[in-house]
Amino acid sequence: MNTSALLFMIITQAIITGLMLYFFFKVLFAKPKVGINEDSYADNDEPAVKK
């Protein structure tokens, strides 16, 4: 590969992979919201609320 193609590919792919991982990990480690009784996700319900 020529240098400009290699640089262009590596920089673009690194930015995209980096941003994808950044946002994904931000979701994974997001703190639960305080003061919300029931959120959008059934897995977070108290056992009695689950149907």
Partner: protein
């Protein structure tokens, strides 16, 4: 109003489902072909600019509209739009959010069924020992529903029905029990298959396994920047179009998935996470599979020629042959990985198309979940059968053009205007940032208000009046020749040549040239003509029709080749358009009935 108790199981599940909605066949088949046709590496720059100025804002808009509508029990766009503005027209604009999904699903499930069939054929070793022409002919035979490649009669229809039944079954299991589970299985497998194939492609060595060039030759071709193409409007339009397809924007499915998110929960970070996951699959994995492998075996010129017929041709007519060069075991593994990857990409998208239709039937007509899923499956079957049976008559392409291209642009343009100018950016911005787990940069306020609507209007207007050969220099106030794919030329059927009557007793040549051969093949009379530009055009007709030219004859466009009884493709094209218009109007009637029901019960 029915109680719609669909819910997401987990936030990761929602993001994977939303990413699965965006990641489709286009990530692996359309994106690399668009990049090759639009300047290789230089395509990436307009592509990323369009992603930031059009893709990201539209993701914010669609997630916000969805969550906003969901607060009032509206999980589809017609009533979400109605809630955003009192003007009566908006709920009918919202009809596109249901219409596009049914219509796209009708042909998309058909392509999905090809991938399912090709997984089977790859595992069964059907392609072993075939040369390139035989693999291409296998695909052509597969598309002809009256021939069978496996001994199963009407094989293409059987695989289509099985694929549709699978979609219907998953949908009937609901969001957390069906769609989300499919995404949790499909997305990781898709990424693993993608990484395996990308590694094989990148490390392809000239002289090994029949490869002529290294895999890096393809990457070099794809990633060498050609800055001169940045000034070409065609490249920018192609980049904007790709962003639409890849993110599944303007379709109504993002809004529907987001409608099941509660008011205080985040949508901004979710939108970014799903959006960038799609970009990773498209730019990092999608660019590293079919182009490096096909250039490694066929060379750059041949691949450019093959990509002129689109990514589907390259994927289904060529890739199975190239995998055979890796030996029987690896060929089977690579074939299963490649078509399995396409299958998972396809099914996670088609499920997203089914959810708005299901939600509409549950919300407005009190249907149970399983009945609503069956309703979707049955509608898609009815609408899809013409694309399967009359695929070679142009029905598939008509669905794709009107529902999969034009509708998306029109719908996205209107929703951007509705969100920023009618609903108001003040309220809109609050919708985006309420409960957000990230700080959305303020610059997006201005992009949402001015840049995105202007870009969308430009994309729509240029699609209307696109000049022939994409030569924008020819555009003048005195008029210009239109591109056959421009909306106006399509409506006028400009691309239809001398065979413009629905029913005819003669079939005319569509090109000028010399008759190269006349023969009989599989119950058909075949005439092959070498055109003036040295390309070959082949005409086939049933044996009951008579050939009236012979080898060596000179024919001009409009000269008769056969006499007999003919139904021309333009008939099927116009009938499919009528069908789509009838479908759109039927959904409008259903919306009107549902609206009056809600009004009567005091819900509106």
């Amino acid at each position: 109003m029915a109680v719609n108790n669909l819910r997401w199981g987990s936030r990761i599940g929602l993001i994977l489902a939303m990413a699965g909605n965006a990641v489709g066949l286009g990530n692996f088949l359309r994106f690399p072909v668009q990049a090759v046709q639009n300047g290789g590496g230089a395509f990436i720059i307009p592509y990323l600019v369009c992603f930031l100025l059009m893709g990201v804002p539209l993701l914010f808009i669609e997630w916000s509209i969805g969550r906003y509508g969901g607060q009032f029990g509206h999980h589809t766009t017609p009533f979400a739009f109605n809630k955003m503005s009192k003007a009566r027209m908006w709920k009918y604009i919202g009809v596109f959010g249901i219409f596009s999904n049914i219509t796209i699903a009708a042909y998309y499930c058909y392509i999905e069924s090809w991938t399912m069939s090709y997984v089977y054929h790859s595992a069964a070793g059907t392609f072993a020992g075939m040369d390139q022409n035989s693999v291409a002919a296998f695909f052509d035979n597969y598309l002809n529903v009256f021939t069978s490649t496996t001994g199963i009669p009407f094989e293409a229809i059987v695989f289509f029905v099985v694929c549709l039944a699978l979609n219907t079954w998953v949908l009937s299991r609901g969001l957390s029990g069906g769609v989300e589970k499919a995404a949790k299985i499909g997305m990781p497998l898709l990424i693993i298959f993608g990484i395996f194939l990308a590694v094989k492609a990148i490390f392809l060595k000239a002289g090994h396994d029949g490869a002529v060039y290294d895999g890096t030759v393809g990457l070099n071709f794809l990633w060498t920047p050609q800055y001169s193409s940045l000034t070409n409007p065609k490249v920018w339009l192609a980049a904007a179009g790709q962003i639409f397809f890849t993110l599944s924007l303007g379709q109504g499915s993002v809004q529907c998935y987001a409608a099941y998110v509660k008011k205080k929960d985040d949508i901004a970070l979710n939108a970014m996470s799903a959006g960038w996951m799609n970009e990773f699959v498209e730019v990092v994995l999608g660019s590293a599979i079919i182009i490096p492998i096909s250039i490694g075996y066929l060379g750059i010129d041949r691949v450019i020629e093959l990509t002129s017929f689109g990514g589907l041709g390259l994927g289904f007519r060529t890739m199975p042959f190239l995998f055979q060069q890796w030996g029987p075991v690896l060929a089977a593994v690579a074939g299963v990985a490649f078509f399995g990857l396409l299958f998972f990409a396809g099914i996670t998208s088609s499920l997203a198309m089914g959810t708005p239709v299901m939600s509409f039937l549950i919300d407005e007509f009190n249907w149970r979940r399983s009945r609503a899923a069956m309703g979707f499956g049955f509608s898609v079957l009815l609408l899809g059968l013409p694309t399967v049976i009359f695929f070679q008559k142009g029905v598939f392409d008509e669905y794709d053009y009107w529902a999969g291209t034009v509708s998306l642009v029109v719908f996205a343009m209107f929703e951007a205007i509705l969100f920023a100018w009618v609903f108001g950016l003040k309220k809109g911005w609050k919708e985006i940032t309420d409960g957000a787990d990230i700080k959305v940069p303020v610059i997006f306020k201005y992009i949402l208000k001015f840049v995105t609507p202007v870009i969308l209007i430009l994309v729509f207007v240029t699609s209307l009046i696109r000049p022939a050969n994409d030569d924008w220099g020819k555009v003048s106030i005195t008029g210009w020749e239109l591109h056959p794919e421009s909306i106006i030329a399509k409506i006028r059927n400009d691309h239809v040549g001398p065979n413009h009557e629905y029913f005819a007793d003669k079939y005319y040549s569509e090109t000028s040239g010399v008759v190269d051969s006349v023969y009989t093949c599989e119950d058909n009379n075949v005439v092959s003509i070498i055109n003036e530009d040295n390309t070959v055009k082949t005409y086939e007709t049933a044996l009951t029709n008579t050939v009236i030219v012979k080898k060596g004859d000179r024919v001009d466009t409009g000269d008769a080749l056969f006499i007999g009884s003919f139904i021309n493709n333009v008939f099927y094209v116009d009938m499919s358009r009528l069908l789509l218009v009838a479908l759109f109007l039927s959904i409008c009637v259903l919306i009107s009935i549902a609206y009056h029901k809600r009004k009567k019960s005091g819900e509106i």
